[in-house]
Symmetry: C2
Subunit: 197 residues, 2 copies
């Protein structure tokens, strides 16, 4: 077997909160765990179909509008809850995540420090944006869900995001310094060459 379909567990977890459509699942996942987990429709719809066939979820209700449009709302079954609990207890299989930024920097010597510097600067801007968003979410969840028994669990993922982004920004500082020094050295060489030649 290759890796297991993880989408199904995200679905089960979200359906345990309340019944939803495929579209609603995508929305909820984006809004709650979007900073570390996302699902595409091309993954959700086929997975929901398979899960229904396997009895992990069931059609809660199917709404037909006059025009013939369908809206399928799913709920989790007892089997689904069991499968979710089993997965939640199973150890996480570690795997190396691909980092395109670092790969481009690793080969950075082939194009010069200015290009690498631009990559780092864009990454820094992106991280700063995410950090601001996450801080807002943090505040929001803290107040709107005050006293909710699952709040400490939700807060863990936000803290992971905050600490990770802060570390990334510190790395950006270092990297920018290194690359600026490289760019400067290169310029000096050019100048010297020009003066002597």
């Amino acid at each position: 077997m290759a890796r297991e379909n993880t989408c199904q567990f995200a679905i089960l977890g979200m359906l345990c909160r309340e019944p939803m459509s495929g579209y609603g699942l995508r929305q909820t996942i984006e809004r709650t765990v979007g900073h570390f987990w996302q699902e595409s429709y091309g993954n959700l719809y086929p997975t929901l179909e398979r899960m229904e066939a396997e009895g992990l979820v069931a059609l809660d209700r199917e709404e037909h509008s006059p025009g013939g449009r369908v809206r399928k709302v799913y709920r989790v079954t007892a089997d689904g809850r069991r499968v979710l609990s089993e997965w939640l207890r199973r150890p996480v299989v570690p795997h190396v995540e691909r980092n395109e930024l670092l790969l481009k920097l690793f080969f950075g010597g082939r194009v010069g420090p200015e290009d690498s510097l631009a990559h780092v600067e864009r990454s820094r801007a992106e991280a700063e944006g995410l950090l601001a968003t996450l801080r807002l979410i943090d505040e929001d969840v803290r107040h709107s869900r005050e006293g909710h028994p699952e709040l400490p669990y939700w807060h863990l993922s936000i803290r992971a995001g905050l600490l990770g982004l802060e570390a990334h920004l510190r790395w950006c500082d270092e990297a920018q310094e290194t690359l600026q020094r490289l760019a400067h050295t290169k310029d000096s060489k050019k100048k010297k060459k020009g003066e002597v030649g």
Copy 2:
């Protein structure tokens, strides 16, 4: 178009250092950028075949041993170098990386703090192992490749790994504390219930 084949750029970058076989590419990628980039054979071999057809790489030499065994050594072409440079200058497309640990913690309320605590402890042990390895690699590269013009670029990715892992360990501290408090609260409740009921 879906996402572009990134494997080809890793291949091009590595072949710029020296001609290699598919097997050698896998080895080199693992040893040099393995902490943030990996390639599987199922990805490498078909990609190499396509790249040869497109003229990005060429067969440097093909070694036939008496038994009929083949060893295909590829080198990068001028076209390949151009394609690599273009990619290196193109901005990185940001994307959310899936984090299975955080997803399990997010739904942690469904199974109790002990299970979540076990996940964090395993993750911490893994991170400590990686950190130790990365520190060794750091030392090794620093000495064995002293003065190499591309050393600063290589060092950037190692620093990213070190800072990221250190941040992760700090998060583990926080998370363990939170979860231990939750487990303790639950125990107190149980005790009280037992005493009263």
